[in-house]
Symmetry: C2
Subunit: 119 residues, 2 copies
């Protein structure tokens, strides 16, 4: 199973998934599975959210709060859930607001070690 | 009931709460209730997370994803959950990682209109 299959697996298992991406902390995408069109340029948005994640990580480290493991941002049209899988990579799933966020979060947690094993 | 009481109410109702804050988008704190010492300078961390939230909001707006309504950042030692209550203000609760995040999220949602009514 390659990266793409793990990303696909997350999307297939959550109704309302839009896309799932494996991304470097530098904002460069490793692989993306697009499940549905959300009327939003999700890949570009995810690149910008990488900057948001880096800021959160720097803020947490500066205040001895430890490393960032998960993050989420919910907007009117989209929920993005992210999970850091290694110091250099993270996975993000973009969902419609009515999707099951708990299940998506669980699936990211399950997929993370499998993705790490292939990095 | 003033701001402080609403912030206290959120903390009291969730085991593992560290603090709850009402903050301006400019990073200036309106009021904070500290429930427990977490060994972390939570108020300073929350000020920095304001910058993270502003970045997320700008990214979402730039990509037509709508306004940010909620966000969360989980680290090894702390989970912060935020809810935008008006264009200029948001509430954040800081929790221990083992706290009930779902309940905290629900309580922020319930408290938000009450806080707005007093702004």
């Amino acid at each position: 199973m390659g990266f793409r299959e793990h990303l696909q697996e997350v999307c297939r298992s959550v109704d309302g998934s839009i896309a799932c991406t494996l991304m470097g902390m530098d904002g460069i995408e490793v692989d993306t599975h697009v499940q549905a069109e959300g009327g939003i340029d999700v890949p570009s948005l995810l690149v910008e959210l990488t900057g948001v994640l880096r800021n959160a990580r720097d803020a947490a480290e500066a205040h001895q709060a430890g490393g960032v493991s998960e993050f989420s941002v919910a907007t009117d049209r989209l929920v993005t859930l992210g999970r850091v899988v290694s110091p250099d990579y993270f996975m993000v799933v973009a969902l419609r607001p009515d999707a099951n966020q708990g299940k998506a979060r669980y699936l990211l947690r399950v997929a993370a070690p499998k993705v790490v094993a292939e990095l």
